[in-house]
């Protein structure tokens, strides 16, 4: 199939349809609303389920219900909506049923704004809902990548009976890019043996997240943890730009990583040997690759559209082997390539061992940038 000019949210929705999603339940919220609108037209025309729920709480519980039938099901929302969904996400994780949640992230906390952000890193990567569980988190950086990884998200959800989050920021939901959609996948007729479908000719299936005896719950927690260890072993995905001879390693995901790759190309022209590690699975994080690169690079610059959330994971892995610096924009501000280029120039000249918390050095730089000499 040829490339077409596609709007992010529309492309993600169509990618899910072609991956065989049989139900979409959602609630309007900027900047993900076009996803729901697209589904409201396409799903009924294909004889598939669509409901505009009364709230994100209801939407995710509809997803939970359909997930129990073993059919491909998803929702898409944006930060405040995903906060409301955390109840159902925890139940989905506890019941070990597959489902995909797309979060088109916006500025926060609270009502925040509708501009692009990566401020939900902790919420999406570290769990967000209550209890011991481990979501798989994919963070694509282009419309094409999102199309590809939404398909993968369903495969991973089913392979591990897990919740899978696809997180993009408002830029990616709203922008138009040339991209190619995959062919339409056939919907499998066979129902997974654990799913509810009516107990015809078999013992009943009961799907629940309650284990009233703590020892039983602990066995479940252990099963989820061991499954997560398998996921960490098998499912790490990342992208790299110019890392072969890099002395400065930039680490950024999604839009921040993409902007950084532009800055890196310009920095190379100035003779700054910079490279990019862009985690695509934020969970599981590409920690082995990062550890390997700490043997090669002299400094690390983490770039995010938040206050340094992935930074904490990077620091935990690097453990002082290489000085780590940070540059972030918050509140729905997307950094420009020139800002990151300036950072690369600064970092390449910096011989300081670096602060214990790289944010301590970044805060005054950001304040100066925002406030100027006021």
């Amino acid at each position: 199939m040829a490339k077409e000019l596609l709007k992010g949210n529309h492309a993600f929705a169509e990618a899910a349809i072609r991956a065989g999603v049989e139900a979409f339940y959602g609630y309007p919220i900027t900047p993900s609303t076009e996803f729901l609108e697209y589904m409201s037209r396409r799903m009924p025309s294909l004889g598939r389920a669509f409901v505009q729920a009364e709230s994100e709480v209801s939407a995710i519980n509809m997803v939970y219900g359909a997930a129990c039938t073993g059919k491909r099901v998803m929702t898409a929302s944006s930060s405040p909506g995903v906060s409301l969904m955390m109840e159902g996400i925890s139940y989905i994780a506890g019941t070990e049923v597959p489902a995909v949640v797309v979060n088109v992230m916006r500025g926060g906390p609270g009502l925040g704004n509708i501009a692009p952000s990566q401020g939900d890193y902790y919420q999406m990567v570290k769990g967000g809902g209550h209890g011991d569980y481990f979501p798989i988190v994919l963070a694509p950086a282009s419309v094409q990548e999102a199309i590809d990884y939404i398909g993968l998200a369903f495969d991973l959800a089913e392979k591990y009976r897990s919740i899978v989050h696809v997180i993009v920021d408002g830029n990616m939901g709203q922008m138009m890019e040339p991209a190619e959609l995959p062919p339409m996948k056939d919907i499998p007729e066979k129902v997974p043996d654990w799913a509810v479908s009516g107990a015809k000719g078999r013992d009943p299936n009961n799907l629940t997240s309650i284990y009233i005896d703590p020892e039983d719950e602990e066995v479940t927690n252990l099963r989820l943890l061991k499954r997560w260890k398998e996921i960490e072993k098998n499912e790490v995905i990342f992208d790299e730009v110019e890392v072969e001879d890099a002395e400065i390693l930039v680490i950024g995901f999604g839009t921040a990583g993409r902007v950084a790759s532009s800055a890196i190309r310009e920095a190379r022209e100035e003779g700054i040997k910079a490279g990019l590690l862009r985690p695509i699975t934020l969970a599981p994080f590409p920690q082995d690759r990062l550890l390997e690169l700490t043997k090669q690079v002299k400094r690390i610059l983490v770039v995010e559209m938040n206050s340094g959330m992935m930074l904490d994971d990077v620091m935990k892995i690097v453990q002082g082997r290489v000085p780590v610096e940070f540059y972030g924009r918050m509140g729905g501000v997307t950094p420009l390539p020139d800002e990151i280029l300036d950072e690369l120039r600064r970092v390449s000249a910096n011989k300081d061992p670096g602060a214990d918390d790289p944010r301590d050095e970044w805060i005054p730089r950001l304040e100066k940038k925002i406030l100027g000499d006021k």
């Binding site: 209801s58 519980n61 509809m62 939970y64 219900g65 359909a66 129990c68 039938t69 159902g88 000719g201």
Partner: protein, 257 residues
């Protein structure tokens, strides 16, 4: 000569699992469960039914029904049932919910499931109290009724008034069958069973949302005897929550069960 052929006239329904329940003595959950199981057997629906259990005393309902079941988050059973029914429209989907679940934390879910005319059946157990958490005030607690969170009796000035769900839901165009019955004596139990049958008939005919509200007992948390509990339903609850048919769509009116 007298015939000696034995005939089974009463047995455990196939839809009812052969296990002991965890319900307290005198609680009417067991009666309600059995009526549902009998109806599902009689209609031959067991192998295509998926039940949705609530959070509350009946959180383990799935253990007592011999059929596929899922366990919802508190109040979300109608949303979960919607999610299932929309992808499995030929299956029979019912929720079983208490008053805290349905009329408090799950108010949005029940109202909108009914408004959308979801083709599901809801069995609503109204015993005017939170059972599982140990007897707190429910949205259906009677004015003046003492609970662990209304220790001086429900003061309507501070805690408002009980909610009559059957009446409210009957106003919604998406509903096909909405009635209130009671489980306080044999005659009313028989009427309750007929209503449950009608609710499932509504779903099988695709006539929209159906709900049977069942006035039920909770002697443990009401802190009265099992016999007094049944009297309490009859004398205190029925006047406040009148029994009756609040919505029966014309297509059901001629149906005799």
């Amino acid at each position: 000569m007298v015939s000696t052929t034995a005939e089974v006239i009463y047995q455990r329904p196939e839809s009812f699992s052969d296990v002991h329940t965890h319900y307290c003595p005198g609680c009417t959950h067991g009666v309600a469960h059995r009526l549902i199981a009998e109806v599902i057997d009689e209609m031959g629906l067991r192998e295509k039914t998926i039940g949705v259990a609530p959070v509350g005393c009946s959180v383990f309902a799935y253990k007592y029904f011999n059929m596929d079941f899922v366990e919802a988050a508190h109040g979300r059973a109608p949303a979960m049932a919607t999610g299932i029914k929309r992808v499995l429209p030929k299956n029979t989907i019912f929720t079983y919910q208490g008053d805290g679940d349905l009329a408090s934390i799950g108010m949005a879910e029940i109202m909108h499931a009914a408004a959308r005319g979801e083709n599901i059946s809801v069995i609503f157990i109204n015993n005017a109290i939170y059972g599982m958490t140990g007897g707190q005030m429910a949205p259906t607690t009677l004015p003046g009724m003492k609970t662990t969170s209304s220790p001086f009796g429900r003061d309507v000035e501070l805690a408002g008034y009980p909610i009559r769900m059957a009446e409210i839901l009957a106003t919604l165009d998406g509903t096909g069958y909405v009635v209130r019955r009671s489980l306080h004596n044999a005659a009313n139990i028989r009427k309750s069973k007929k209503a449950i049958r009608m609710a499932f008939e509504t779903q099988e005919r695709g006539l929209g949302f159906s709900m049977v509200e069942l006035l039920s007992s909770c002697p443990t948390n009401w802190k009265i005897s099992t016999q007094d509990s049944l009297t309490f339903i009859e004398e205190q609850m029925v006047p406040l929550f009148p029994l009756g048919d609040y919505k029966v769509v014309p297509a059901l009116a001629s149906l005799k069960v």
